[in-house]
Structures are given as C-alpha cells and as structure tokens.
Symmetry: C2
Subunit: 198 residues, 2 copies
Amino acid sequence: MYPESLENLIECFKYLPGIGEKTAERLAFSVLEMSDERVDYFQESIKSAKTFIHSCPICNVLTDQEQCNICSSDVRDDSLLCVVEDPKSVFLFEKLGMFKGRYHVVKGLISPKEGIQPEDIELGKLIERIKNANFKEIILAFRPSIEGETTSLYIKRILGDLNIKISKIASGIPIGADMEYIDAMTLERALLDRKNVE
Amino acid sequence: MYPESLENLIECFKYLPGIGEKTAERLAFSVLEMSDERVDYFQESIKSAKTFIHSCPICNVLTDQEQCNICSSDVRDDSLLCVVEDPKSVFLFEKLGMFKGRYHVVKGLISPKEGIQPEDIELGKLIERIKNANFKEIILAFRPSIEGETTSLYIKRILGDLNIKISKIASGIPIGADMEYIDAMTLERALLDRKNVE
C-alpha cells in the first residue's frame, strides 16, 4: 500500500526491538522529512557502528579501538575487577563514575533451563585473566536472578583456591520505591540481607 | 563514554521523534547485534526511501513513481475528492479501503496562531485542481481542531461560487470509547451534531 521503498524502511524499523507497526511508520515518515545531510549521516552511522565496533580482546567491552579505553588506561585500579553480564552494564557503571577498577564482560549468564553452560559465556577467558593478574577483589555485578546467582556461585567455586576476595553487588529494595510494588523475592532478599542501623 | 561510532548512532536514533535516551541506546545496541546483511539492508532502505520517495505532482501523496498509484488509476471515482492534511492520512483511508475517489494532500492546516497562512499550505494548487476537474463532492478530512475548522471554512468560502457539494467527516465520540474519558469539546460537538435515531 505504501510505495515499496517506504514499505521496506518501515519493515526495517519494525525489525528493531520494541518498535511496533505504528511507531515504525512514524519513524519512517520522519526519515522522509529529514534533510539529505541528516539522512546520509544516519545511514553512515549505522554502517560505521557495525563496521568499527567490536569487543575488546581483553575485557569484551565494546570499542572502536584495538583495545578499549578502560583496558588501555594506566590510571585505573588494578586491584579491582568488576564482572558484568553484558557490555551495556559497563557503560552504566562508567556513567555513575564511582568505580575505578577494571571490567570483564562475560557473554550472558549460566542458565541450565535455557541450556547455557559455563563454556558458552566464555568463563574460561575470565578465569585465565584473573589467574594471570593481581586482583585483590572480584566484584560480581550480575542482575539478581537465579541465573545471576548460579553464575556467581560457579565463579566463586572455580576461584575458591586463589586468595582473592569475591563479592557481589547488593540486592534489595530500590531507593525511592513504593513498598507496595516490591515483589516477594526482592522483599525476602532485603529481609535476609538486613543491616544493623549504625 | 561510548565509543564514538556508537555514540553517533545513538545520537541519530535520538533525533527520531518520540525516541529518548534509553530507547536510542537500546536500538543502537540492537544494530550491533544484527547480521551484516541486515545492517546493509537497513542503511540502504534509509537511503532509498529518501532518494525515491517524493510528492505526486497532482495530489501530493508520497510515491516512488512519476505519479502516484491513485492518480494513475483509471478505476477511481472522478466525482469525489477527499482533501487531507498530510500524506499519512491517505494511507489510513486506503487501509480502510472504503473510499474510492481521488485525494489531495494540503501541506498542513491554516493556523493564525502559528502564522500558517493559506499560501503556506498551497491551497492555490488545490483550488486550481478543483476548478479544472469535474468533482461533484469535496470531502474535507482534517483532524477536528480549530485549525481544521479554519481550513475547512476557508476552502468552503473560496469554492462557494462553484456548484460543488463540500462536506467534512463527522466528529464525535469514538466507537467503543469510555464516556468518562471524553474531553469536553468532543462531547459538546457530539451533542450539537446529534442525529435522529432511525
């Protein structure tokens, strides 16, 4: 019903996550209203991002350099390693600006239910890196879930005989949340992990 | 903070209407996960849509042909002209499949408040077309609003001395709507335009 090249563009937008029919149409129409320069820039950005962005060979963070900025930096704390489940988590921590150590991105979380084994998420590379470095603490920053827990326990077991502190980020009630809307598992965890008021 | 080419892509997505920071990031990351073929297809679709889609010289509908399919068709009803405020409205009517006449797209609606005059929306082209054709009825299908009303009245006045019926689509309570959520202006219009129960 739309001209073919418009139909194709709508289909491309619909392929993106969380974009439905109506939104895809709106986005495609907005492209038609852009200046020629803007359209060139948009399509070149897509091509460049796909061409130049790859995983850092050391930590798996996304980068367009040979090694990522964090691995290349000589002002980061070499005693701390934060292990996350996807490259995006690194950017979230960096936005926060609080953590000054190194990162390692594993490729997802162990999930027996979905048949994801330790070798699928390349834990070997992480273990190897830890054994060859001098980290004093490994901070596991996975999302609180059965998969996150399983992956944490597995890493803890493998690294058990090395003299390294292994911690995980706290889970509990988010700051500012309405108690009414907190799920039972989070509430249970918050209760179990209660802290002394000091 | 993100690698530059990823940052650029996020910025491009953020430039699209209704796409905020978080969504733009999600979309950009999804591009990185696409296959190379998919990425090529996406960026070529953007380029093609912008290159080949233009306004039909007769009715202003978007097309990738010299003239749009509707103007080129010889099975449409030449006695009916539906005037809409943007190309998208034509596709909405065509999806419905009920209207078999011709269309004309004006470039927006007259708005004294925003300084949009009749000449800005190229009403001259519409008037010229009507004078040179044999339409029996002009259906104005603008969104119900002060601007829609102003534009309708202006067209009605200009065409007053031609012997052509000028109608506009009905406004009122949408089918299936909850009365509680209907705004006062719509309710007032629905009351004023009440019809005999037959």
